[in-house]
Symmetry: C2
């Protein structure tokens, strides 16, 4: 699967419904820009964009975030498996924010390399 | 499952990436407004908001549309079943637009009643 990017507003807001009009526009214009770059970078042909807005929709971290995932034919055996991957990403995010929980990070080198490539891409 | 609403821009555009900044803002501010009303109307507590942007992401009708679905605890046995429901809705939309395909509409009365309730809600 391709790199999965989460986009969130700077202000810590729990629900998408609670964003101001300006924040909503900024958030989605950013998602559009990031999606365009990601799709081109990964030579993909589609995107999955989703907000799980509230715990009953699968949101595990109470700070609005958009999932942006570049898609290619045959990247998942069944299209809906993308949403299991989305849940995995939610869990990772939650564990990352949970300081009591032990987790194995990717190596500093791996993360630094990805961050560097994405920096060139988006900035 | 609750009523599932699709929101699309007036201009027929295939990809979310191809909307202008103004269309993107309008589309998501509308989704936010509709989501707020739907959630309250159905006494739900969360929302699923998603765009399947391009055929490889599960888009079946080449006109940008956002899926907005009010969510409640226990509405699906597994959270991800919502995405199967989303695919069903994509198929319905496609069949509705395919004039050669026979389909059984809901009764005029059923549709008129739902349209009337939603008109009061959103206008």
């Amino acid at each position: 699967m391709f790199s999965h990017v989460l986009i969130c507003p700077k202000r810590e807001v729990k629900r998408f419904l609670d964003l101001t009009a300006e924040e909503t526009s900024d958030l989605w214009l950013t998602a559009q820009k990031v999606g365009r770059q990601l799709e081109s970078y990964h030579k993909a042909s589609s995107l999955t964009l989703a907000i799980q807005d509230g715990p009953q929709a699968g949101q595990t971290v109470p700070h609005v975030h958009i999932h942006v995932v570049p898609r290619k034919g045959g990247d998942f055996e069944k299209n809906d498996e993308i949403y299991d991957a989305m849940d995995e990403k939610e869990k990772e995010l939650k564990e990352k924010l949970d300081l009591d929980k032990e987790r194995k990070d990717r190596s500093a080198e791996e993360m630094s390399q990805e961050a560097e490539e994405y920096r060139k891409l988006f900035l």
